[in-house]
């Protein structure tokens, strides 16, 4: 197991700077998710860790030792690629055994460890098949077994669940999480799916254009997003954002005044759909669309400040389309951001407009 440190790392490909400057500490045994949209540098970070790429400047440390010049083959890192990257010409057994061949593991022990790894991810009965004969979920497990068989000090998962169907994704999520708990291996998960990140990781590193936007627990990122980007990236259905102008304790949005505390200038109000309620007082509007989602119902309410999404508990919609309603919310859940810097204004809240 290892602790990881990125010390002022930059990475450029020709003229393109993929990672401008990255500082990051990951503790031994931690499960960290790198979350961000595609092209934000999260896969590059992973390949830096694996030793496929070398940092342009800065140092990468494993357990306090600089490993910049240590070759990929010597880093003892297990990696599961999005495509699984199984070797198509080998059987599952040979695939899992492949890393051990280079470690000069005695044959007896290698076979034992392959069987153990295969049993761990429940592919013990598939050892004689070839990757082409496996389903997506089985391939994923084999890739995981191959990464784990060498007892890596660091496990890297690159979008491991994105090629699975919804049900399988749910169960693999749980499995990977409990496997990590059990083995205690430092794990870094790269994903663009916020649900994956929030459900599996101890800590989430939200990235944007090669920079770390916010690092914290899933709860931190959800309840106290440090920027508009994080706020809009975390949460499903996405947060409602409306731009306004704060003057004298009131945020004016398209002529509607929201009583506010601690805000001045151009601000953006963030309201999570699950924190909004269909009420008798508050922001007036009309239900434009109803989307039943199983346990919840999503109302899209057309108001003077635009379409607002409201998530209501309960399996059936209590209201009909076209009905005139009011949107209400609790002041404590409202978020206010500075529109120009896009940062959160701490301790600033808004209230629903007075009737």
């Amino acid at each position: 197991m290892a602790s990881i440190e990125f010390r002022k790392i930059t990475k450029r490909f020709g003229d393109v700077e993929v990672i401008p400057d990255m500082d990051l500490d990951i503790a031994d045994g931690e499960f960290v998710a790198l979350l961000g949209p595609s092209g934000c540098g999260k896969s590059t970070s992973l390949l830096l860790l694996a030793g496929i790429y070398l940092p342009s400047t800065g140092d990468l440390l494993f357990d306090g030792h600089v490993v910049n010049d240590v070759e990929a083959k010597d880093r003892n890192v297990g990696i599961v690629f999005q495509s699984y990257a199984l070797y198509p010409h080998m059987t599952v057994r040979d695939n899992i055994m492949f890393p051990l061949r280079f470690k000069k593991t005695p044959r007896e022990e290698a076979i034992r460890r392959v069987n153990e790894a295969a049993a761990l991810v429940q592919v013990g009965d598939l050892l004689d098949r070839r990757p082409g004969q496996l389903s997506g979920g089985q391939q994923q497990r084999v890739a995981l077994a191959r990464a784990l068989v060498k007892q890596p000090q660091l496990l890297l998962l690159d979008e491991p669940l994105s090629n699975l169907d919804a049900t399988l994704r749910l169960s693999m999520r749980t499995e990977i999480k409990s496997l990590q708990d059990e083995l205690g291996v430092t794990t870094i998960l790269v994903t663009h799916d916020q649900i994956e990140a929030t459900t599996m990781a101890d800590r989430i590193i939200c990235m944007r254009a090669g920079r770390i936007e916010q690092a914290g627990t899933p709860d931190d990122l959800y309840a106290r997003p440090s920027s508009l980007f994080v706020a809009s990236f975390i949460g499903s259905p996405p947060i409602n954002l409306v731009e306004g102008k704060a003057v004298n304790g009131t945020v004016d949005v398209s002529g509607i005044g929201f009583p506010a505390t601690g805000a001045t200038g151009a601000v953006t109000i963030g309201l999570r759909p699950e924190h909004l309620v269909v009420a008798d007082t508050g922001l007036p509007g009309r239900i434009a669309q109803i989307e039943p989602m199983g346990r919840e119902v999503l109302y899209v309410v057309s108001t003077d400040i635009g379409h607002i999404r409201i998530l209501e508990q309960g399996s059936t919609a209590g209201r009909g389309a076209g009905e005139a309603v009011h949107v209400g919310f609790d002041e404590a859940h409202s978020l206010v951001f500075d529109t120009t810097t896009e940062r959160l204004i701490p301790d600033s809240h808004v209230k629903p407009p007075a009737p």
């Binding site: 390949l47 694996a50 030793g51 496929i52 070759e71 990929a72 083959k73 010597d74 880093r75 890192v77 297990g78 990696i79 690629f81 999005q82 495509s83 990257a85 199984l86 070797y87 198509p88 010409h89 492949f98 890393p99 061949r101 280079f102 470690k103 191959r146 060498k150």
Partner: protein, 364 residues
């Protein structure tokens, strides 16, 4: 709404109409298939016929006898047989009936062949396989004994051809695989112009270089040696082989290579154990093409090889034609058949891999 209602009304037909429509579709399909096959048979006869005659002549012509009767008899069996097979396939309803028809036609063809062509068949034209000095034997049959060319043993020429084509293939496949891998995976100054030049090189007619190459081989001291010809052929075959192989390497995902590296393989081990097994089809394809290219090579061996111990099959065939064509074209055909068989076998064995070329191959 109105338009939709009209549409529904129009396509609703009575039971009778459906039957009529289905019958019309079946008829059209049958006519189409029939005419396509008729066209294909018509255009393939001029291609197939020379080979058919070559084989027929090789097994039937007799020294000093100019007789073409047997060829027409053979055609009289072949053409009706092809048409009968086609008609059987067209007229049969269902798989079992088709097999029965085909078996029937095959039987009739065999009987007709044995009856009409069979009596003329013999193996005497293949005398060259056992008698190196067959030219003298043939001449003695028609009375003129002197002046025959001293032919080397045909197996010697055969061996030379195998050696030439085989060595050339080994070199081309090895070099092309390594070069193509590098071109596919590494970025280096001049990479794109190199890729362009690969195609341009292939565009030059090779014959234009024959004089400078002759001089070059002469000065190096490789004139009249198989190695010299092999090197020349390798140089001409490489660009295209590299280009094809690059396409195959491009199709191998980066991920499995990265995976191999993190699994503890060195770059070389990753190439040998993980990447190379993914492109075996490409290697087989260029092997077959290069081998056949070397097997059929004529211009360069004719120019650069002089001693008859260096003759390849193509030269052997050329001199047989020079020497005994007027005396016995049956032997010339027999040599032709002997020359043809290895490449035919190779093509048949490798067909499956050659088809892959279009899939993995030409992707730039």
């Amino acid at each position: 709404m109105v338009a939709a209602t009209n549409g529904t009304a129009r396509i609703t037909a009575t039971g009778d109409d459906w039957g009529r429509l289905a019958a019309r579709a079946r008829r059209t399909r049958r006519v189409k298939a029939t005419s396509i096959y008729a066209f294909l048979i018509a255009v393939s006869i001029p291609i197939v016929l020379p080979y058919f005659w070559l084989v027929t002549i090789a097994f039937s012509a007799r020294t000093g006898v100019a007789e073409t009767q047997v060829l027409w008899r053979a055609v009289a069996v072949l053409v009706p047989a092809v048409i009968a097979f086609w008609a059987a396939a067209m007229l049969a309803r269902g798989q079992r009936q088709r097999w029965a028809f085909v078996a029937l036609v095959a039987l009739a063809t065999i009987i007709a062949f044995v009856a009409l062509v069979g009596p003329s068949l013999h193996l005497e034209n293949f005398i060259f396989l056992v008698e190196p000095d067959f030219a003298s034997v043939l001449r003695s049959k028609v009375g003129t004994v002197t002046g025959a060319v001293q032919f080397p043993n045909v197996w010697h020429a055969f061996g030379n051809s195998i050696l030439l084509a085989g060595t050339q293939t080994v070199i081309v496949v090895t070099v092309a695989s390594l070069a193509a891998y590098y071109l596919s995976r590494f970025d280096f100054p001049g990479r794109s112009s190199m890729l362009r030049s690969l195609l341009v090189l292939h565009a030059f007619p090779v014959l234009t270089l024959i004089v400078p190459l002759f001089l070059m081989l002469y000065y190096i001291g490789l004139l009249d040696s198989l190695i010299g010809v092999i090197l020349v052929l390798v140089a001409f075959e490489l660009p295209f082989a590299i280009f094809i192989m690059k396409g195959f390497f491009d199709a191998v995902p980066w991920d499995i290579e990265m995976s191999a590296l993190t699994d503890g393989a060195s770059r070389r081990q990753a190439f040998l154990k993980v990447v190379l097994p993914q492109v075996t089809n490409g290697m087989l394809a260029i092997s077959v093409f290069t081998f056949i290219r070397g097997w059929e090579e004529y211009i360069f061996v004719f120019t650069f090889l002089i001693r008859n111990t260096n003759w390849t099959m193509s030269l052997y065939m050329f001199y047989v034609r020079e020497d005994v064509m007027g005396v016995d074209y049956g032997v010339v055909s027999a040599v032709g058949v002997f020359y043809l068989v290895p490449s035919l076998l190779l093509y048949m064995a490798a067909q499956r891999y050659l088809l892959q070329m279009s899939v993995g191959g030409v992707k730039g």
